[in-house]
Symmetry: C2
Subunit: 354 residues, 2 copies
């Protein structure tokens, strides 16, 4: 493996000194980029794009060619694990992801097993290796997975949902069954992320996209403990470097003190949390990643720069901050607005790292 030329992102996650605040953007390889849309059109559909290591590598690198970003993130879908478990992932136009066989039958739940990451998930691991080679040491590569709770939600609902009625029905009515799904899924995520690390991922992130619609009591029973178990099972060092772990619960701002204690190195924040307050709450236990409202990117460049500076000012002096959005970038973002953000973060943050 080649030497890493820009390790600012990895250093910030471990709260080591850096020259500036690094940044990357959730869903940075996405539909707002015309070159992404072109590759996706060539692939035919989203799932074929995910399942081709060559094309996944191509789109992973696209935002890095345009913008001065400090990390690459594996292009993949968060639902690869349930798909490998046999639920039959598919995408119907304009409706988001769906499963052919939602998981509700007790017998099927009891028979759920964690997939071998080198079996049906081989295409993801191959993509990691290929992207890592293509990056050639320019910036670090982030591997990722959905959280057990978020995956279980999708598996039980069979699709996205406004109310999560089926999930909640099982969670409150048959907590034993729901815990069993989470248990198997936590093992699957641990193996999956370790295989990504083995293949070259230099940091990993767990996306708990739906944990924020739980009550605090339910979050502390059904989401956080399974993420903690994953943290505990991950490979800590690879190629002589620590592999930092980021945990992001969208809507989890009220539970930061708990999340900071789960064994992660960094906590992702959505935009509803004031990052300065968050820093005071978690102290020096973890780094923070975030947290600009992605909708700010619809505003004119000067307004974007103002908001980026407000967030950097709120975090204040010293390391431990990775700039990001508080959620994935919108497909309707004008690409040149992203340039304004990258420039504002890199320039304005230097004063806080002297």
């Amino acid at each position: 493996m080649s030497t890493l030329l820009n390790d600012t992102f990895l250093r910030a996650l471990l709260r080591q000194p850096t020259d500036y605040t690094p940044l990357w953007l959730m869903r940075q390889a996405g539909r707002y980029l015309p070159e992404y849309c072109a590759t996706r059109a060539r692939a035919g559909d989203f799932l074929s794009l995910c399942k081709s290591p060559d094309m996944a590598c191509e789109v992973t690198l696209q935002p890095l060619a345009r913008y001065d970003l400090d990390a690459a993130i594996l292009f993949s879908d968060i639902l690869t694990i349930p798909d490998a478990m046999g639920l039959g992932l598919y995408f119907s136009t304009g409706e988001g992801p769906r499963f052919e066989r939602p998981l509700r039958d007790e017998w099927e739940i009891r028979n759920l097993t964690a997939p071998d990451p080198h079996g049906h998930l081989r295409y993801v691991i191959d993509a990691v290796s290929e992207i890592r080679r293509a990056l050639d040491g320019s910036v670090p590569l982030i591997g990722f997975s959905g959280s057990p709770f978020t995956l279980a939600c999708y598996m039980v609902e069979g699709s996205g949902s406004d109310t999560y009625a089926e999930t909640k029905k099982m969670l409150y009515g048959r907590p034993d069954l729901f815990h069993h799904i989470l248990d198997v899924t936590a093992t699957a995520v641990t193996n999956y992320l370790n295989a990504q690390i083995e293949a070259g991922a230099q940091a990993v992130m767990v996306f708990d996209s739906w944990g924020g619609m739980l009550s605090q009591a339910a979050y502390l029973e059904f989401s956080l403990p399974y993420m903690a178990r994953i943290m505990n099972g991950l490979t800590r060092e690879r190629e002589g470097r620590i592999v930092p772990r980021i945990v992001f619960t969208k809507g989890g701002g009220q539970w930061l003190e708990y999340i900071a204690g789960c064994g992660c190195d960094a906590v992702g924040l959505d935009w509803t949390t004031d990052i300065g307050d968050a820093r005071r709450r978690v102290g020096d236990r973890v780094a923070l990643q975030g947290n600009m409202d992605p909708s700010v990117l619809f505003a004119p460049p000067e307004a974007i720069a103002t908001e980026a500076r407000r967030i950097l000012d709120s975090y204040g002096t010293g390391t431990g901050h990775v700039f990001n959005l508080g959620h994935g970038i919108s497909q309707f973002t004008p690409p040149d607005h992203v340039s304004a953000l990258v420039e504002a973060v890199h320039q304005h943050s230097r004063q806080y790292h002297r």
Copy 2:
């Protein structure tokens, strides 16, 4: 006006002693009740139902006939004010509310005026009077309005939204225009709620359904100050009683300390906040209303009772708690599950009020 037979709800909002924890349910008059569906079918459509004081009165009283609830809430829509402002509210099947003329043009924004509550909103005020007469002092009547921010969102988007792109574009790009909409709307809400109080509403609630998708900085600039202005402009006493005010920002759990200082008597909580933590955070400044996940009502009655008890235990001893859901009741709720909840709350809470 007749004597109020059950003032438990009003007393709890003012943190005065009560015998048990009162409860009502957001959207308690709604589609989960077959009798509501029958009245709505007779009305033809939702808006005709809202605009008929007789039928609005009828559905307001339906849940009280079934359940031992401690308050009634005016049956109406949160978008009556923008409709009276001339935006043309309509409901298209399965799509939720929409406006014929979303508010985006600067000239139109500058010409926006607060409607006279006794003009185009007369049907609401008439419904309040009629419901108050029909209740005959059994339980208090709650009046309500959407918050200026939530109303402005709908007015600018023209409909519900996942991303609120148009709202955020204006908020970050033309904050002066957005503030103007909020300013006019805050005046409208104040006049509207005062007219409801005048007509017989014994408590009022402001629903800030969408404030929770703002950054903290934006919430403190674009939502909370306008609710504070409304609190400051409301009639404080009527019929020799204080008229308590409740403010509910869905997703506002991180900002409770701020909300508690806006001049309200009680703060509504969604289910993501632990109510015991919330009580410690706000101290004796305000009462709290909430906060069971409405999806718990999909679970079996024993699980519902367990969760209700958990929330009452978390709040603990003493007054200042109005039990409610953390959001509107789902149309898919089995009506007999609501009985289980009401019974659990009334029974289990007595020990905390000795």
